[in-house]
């Protein structure tokens, strides 16, 4: 089982690219900026188990502000370990070592390892699995331990974490004396499955599968839904509920426990939780697929995951790849409810959720090589994810709205009270190499090894198959150019070759040129298959993806968003007042014509190349609009020029924070 978090080290971003630029910024700046935040806020020292003034803050319920601190630290360690491998930094190395020492020191004799429930409410362990993130924190500690082990080649973190996993394994499970619960915020499931993949731990596999399969059991504990049972045990009134729950008693959908996963037909609730949960389900399927662990229910679960994926992508995903329209539960609204911003009814599109989509897509590609998953993975990467960090790597967004408003301008922050997103970006870019491709020995004897290329950039992967080392390289100025040069190095190039499958993105409408041509190439589900004989004969070859010129995207008509969005390849564009300083109303009244000519303009920002787009727009006149008239507006004003930049570049150049992705289609005004 090859997770990106372990395979990334086999990939080197060996030449210039947009992805490498971002990764380098994170490695050189973000890691330390976040380390400073950890220190300044008290997180860094929290595993010392001393009292911190934040613990006196009882203003929020049920989740105190420090509840996720363990995970913030763990995610930072995980990301730092990924990035140290590329570029050593003494300060970062020292901090990781010190944090690991503190974590080891914080473990209780029975293996328990959680700051809040050791320091603040030691008698409340495992009493509110729905809300209190104990298992979520444990999951991130597991992931940190795996990254730490990979970089440091010691068990200083893994050893206490495995002890903690054993404790959790004893607490939760099907036996009568055990709690038949599962995390309110899924995460530990996918972490346990990575632990299983790395160490073979049976406990880890059992526990993850139990959490997945038990979830949503309406009568799991004493004939009750587990979360109802534990709420009753706590003595909570049924009408006492966290602010994330819009109504009492019927909000189990918030954490995807309203029904067993197998019976869920639409993706609901908190978007990050949904993605982490489904990633674990896909992981279980992958383990079965690979013959590591048989999972009799695999096909049924995969069918459920695919249906949920389709529901999400077809009806609940923004054109940026962002998911989750509703702020209150940080998650999905009803089908097609995708307003662009606060003043239209919401737009959350949390950074972590888009990262979760990438994780889920990556797992699904292992069981079903279909470019529709990779297309969405890339869409998220270049848009909903990359937009969440400033070019200098020190400022972030948590919510990634598609349109600003006076109430929510397009601005960034250096940190958040609940700061899950910034370290998640660090982790993701740390192991980004693992998302580019799958590769290895073929499943069947006699077949040549393979590489399935999902994402294009400049990078090189080195792997072993059949006792031989393969080095496969791609060079491209993606996403600005569609030309990707591949090179298979000797000796593989002169012997077996590699079976190579190359993604042909959906937006290219299947258009590509392969040089030299390959008469036996086949195109299936968006992947162009090149036989090993071709790559053996042509160790260097070039793929040019067509259709990289600017195009207009319309959301589904049922969204009631009669907008046009400019895109170019995988990059979604937005308008900002930085380029269009005349704008005073968040581009709410600016219209685009579907026929307008769009021109490209090469630009550089902070040394980074990008393509800006120019077209003309017309403002609509709202005078005379409204129920009193038969017209949707008072018509259109004069044409003026409008400049677009990639959405991921927004909020980097000052201005008033006016920004919009989808502009009104002029046809609704004409």
């Amino acid at each position: 089982m090859a997770h990106p978090q372990s395979t990334f080290a086999q990939t080197a971003f060996h030449g210039p690219s947009l992805l490498r630029a971002r990764r380098t910024t994170i490695s050189r700046t973000t890691v330390k900026a976040q380390l400073k935040q950890l220190r300044d806020t008290g997180r860094y020292d929290c595993f010392k188990l001393q009292w911190h003034p934040v613990y006196d803050d009882k203003s929020s319920w049920p989740v105190p502000p420090s509840l996720f601190w363990d995970s913030d630290v763990a995610k930072w360690i995980e990301g730092a370990c990924y990035l140290l491998a590329d570029e050593y930094d003494e300060e970062v190395d020292r901090a990781v070592r010190e944090l690991v020492d503190m974590i080891r020191g914080a473990q209780q004799p029975d293996g328990y390892l959680n700051v809040y429930f050791t320091v603040v409410e030691p008698d409340k362990r495992w009493s509110n699995i729905r809300d209190m993130h104990e298992l979520y924190n444990a999951g991130h500690l597991i992931e940190a331990a795996l990254a730490h082990k990979n970089y440091y080649h010691n068990n200083l973190l893994l050893e206490p974490i495995e002890k903690y996993v054993s404790l959790i394994h004893s607490v939760f499970g099907p036996a009568e004396h055990q709690l038949h619960g599962y995390p309110g915020h899924p995460e530990i499931e996918l972490a346990l499955l990575r632990l299983h993949a790395a160490t073979g731990s049976t406990q880890a596999y059992e526990l993850a599968r139990y959490f997945v399969e038990e979830r949503g059991n309406p009568r799991g504990q004493d004939g009750m839904h587990f979360f109802d049972w534990e709420a009753r045990r706590r003595g909570d009134s049924p009408w006492k509920r966290p602010d994330h729950y819009p109504v009492s008693r019927t909000s189990h959908w918030y954490n995807q426990s309203h029904a067993p996963v197998l019976r869920q037909t639409s993706v609901e609730g908190h978007a990050v939780r949904a993605m982490y949960l489904l990633t674990a389900v896909a992981d279980l399927a992958c383990l079965d697929e690979l013959g590591v662990r048989a999972w009799p229910a695999r096909d049924a679960y995969l069918a459920a995951v695919r249906a949920l994926w389709d529901n999400m992508v077809d009806r609940k995903m923004y054109v940026t790849g962002g998911i989750g329209a509703v702020k209150q539960w940080e998650g999905f609204g009803i089908d097609y409810f995708l307003p662009q911003g606060t003043d239209e009814g919401g737009c959350y599109a949390e950074t972590c959720a888009a990262i979760g989509v990438m994780m889920l897509a990556e797992r699904l590609l292992h069981v079903d090589l279909d470019a529709r998953y990779a297309d969405v993975m890339e869409l998220c990467l270049y848009n909903a994810v990359m937009t969440a960090m400033s070019l200098d790597g020190t400022a972030f967004t948590y919510v990634n709205q598609l349109a600003s408003s006076d109430a929510d301008r397009s601005v960034r922050h250096t940190w958040f009270e609940c700061s899950c997103c910034p370290p998640n970006l660090m982790r993701l870019f740390g192991n980004l190499g693992g998302y580019l491709w799958d590769y290895g020995a073929a499943a069947e004897d006699g077949e040549p090894p393979f590489v399935n290329v999902h994402l294009y950039t400049t990078a090189k992967v080195t792997f072993q198959a059949g006792g031989q080392e393969y080095v496969f390289e791609q060079v491209s100025d993606w996403p600005w150019e569609g030309r990707v040069s591949f090179k298979l190095q000797a000796p593989a190039a002169t012997t077996t070759g590699l079976a190579v499958r190359l993604r042909i993105p959906g937006w290219s409408a299947g258009g590509y040129t392969l040089t030299p041509p390959c008469p036996t190439a086949t195109l299936s589900k968006g992947y162009l298959s090149l036989p090993a004989s071709y790559t053996a004969a042509n160790p260097t070859f070039t793929l040019s993806i067509h259709g990289l010129s600017p195009r207009l995207i319309a959301p589904h008509p049922y969204t009631n968003q009669h907008t046009l969005t400019l895109a170019r390849g995988p990059v979604i564009y937005c308008v900002e007042d930085a380029d269009n300083p005349w704008e005073a109303n968040h581009f709410r009244d600016i219209t685009l014509s579907a026929d307008a000519r769009v021109t490209e303009e090469e630009r550089t920002l902070a040394g980074e190349r990008y393509v800006a787009l120019r077209t003309v727009c017309r403002p609509r006149d709202l005078r005379g609009a409204g129920p009193g008239s038969g017209r949707a507006s008072g018509g259109l004003g004069a044409e003026r020029e409008l400049v677009f930049v990639p959405y991921y570049l927004r909020a980097n150049r000052g201005g008033k924070g006016h920004m919009r992705v989808g502009l009104l289609n002029q046809s609704v005004v004409m």
Copy 2:
């Protein structure tokens, strides 16, 4: 102070009209159908103070299902008393007398009069003013008592109610020993002001004004917001909250107590509560206007009410006059959030809220004779209100969505657990005559008496001014025809005449013909003023309002509802599968062209004339739509005929319950 509830008796619907037809149905059928519901559900006997099985139902919190029973009975009595005046019915008369006996018998020695807090939780009186509707129920009892007194000319109901008001006046107020509270659901304020107008009660005036002025005081009781203070007194956790409250601690906007009325700038929360509250504010202003009771803050309050009115009408009102998009709090969403149905994100438009708009508009016309208030009053009457009852008078809607969906078909029910709307319709139509016009002696000496005509129909008003009787009559087939004939009867016709002001509806664009002409007539704020000399010289005259042909209405562009709605005069139209049985998706994909020719068709249903409209539509093809394409849809299908009926007629003729008001503007597809 002339409330419609007292002036209605001076108006007779003396000839055929749509309004009379509906009022007659209510008088002959609805009153008895609702009486049967009261009997069948246990409400009828509730004032006997015996245990009813419903009191054992603890499944809802904080509001038990029987909490509003007092008001259901009171509203039925009120409506019955209005209608008995027109047409005597022995069964109804007997029921009113019996109910009054039971209410009298239910009063406690100290004057307290509430079923739930006498029978079920006698120790919880006045402990949860925010949620428990004690004061709301009391308000409706006051209104019933006033109607009862007017019809029966005795104090059998008014006497115990006045005693109850005295008790409430002793409990609530500014003195240290009093509760500094006000009703979570406003209603008693406007009832107290009617009581004051009818009896001169100083207690009633003081209490109403206290409730209005104290509302939203952030430090009203022991330095706390009253509702926070009483919640703490009850020992409620801040995170325990009714399902109507989306989040904890910050939901005072739900009942308009988030700020003093004077500081509210947008209309928020539960729509009925907002309307009842603002009606009382307008009543206080009217009492000052009339010199009955000086209110130093009048101008400031009126400015606040007008700003809230404008916010509501311009940004938060459906084209039907319905208000309240959000089901959870039965109230207003953000500005321009007006989805047509459940599958677009909501549409509540409760019947009682539209009735509340009519009440508020009627009050505002007393202080500011502006047709914009009367236009909205009429819009609500013929659409959002009238749509809520079946033609036969036995079935109702509570929610008046503008588009059905599979989750919420366009259907009616004979009763509701919380059944505020059906008896409210009965009350409204009972005193509807009071909404048609204002009239009386002029404020200044030497000026002739006046009639301001707000609504057109066939009716006659009789009133005294300057010791002389005036009889003024209008005859019209409104809303089907724009011609209204007026007649001023002798002797007034031959002596002073009447100063008459006639509303020229906004949709007529000011177009009218007056016969015979009046050279000295002036048009101001949508009212055409005819001097008394004109009516003395022309005791019969005719007004013809122009612009009654079908027209298309577009909602404000910021609603993102790129729809066209057919209207004709004050009547809003809808499509139903009853006329268009080929429809299978709630007309969600049916488009109208702004240029389509619309023809009229005279029809009759259950003996009632109406005008149906015919035009052509084209379905949109959704194949190929969505983010993958640059197009908002796959284009348009072939033209087909589409039949529209008045929205108020919906759900009367069987079918599948597919209905829609606003149809997609074809321009968004082209």
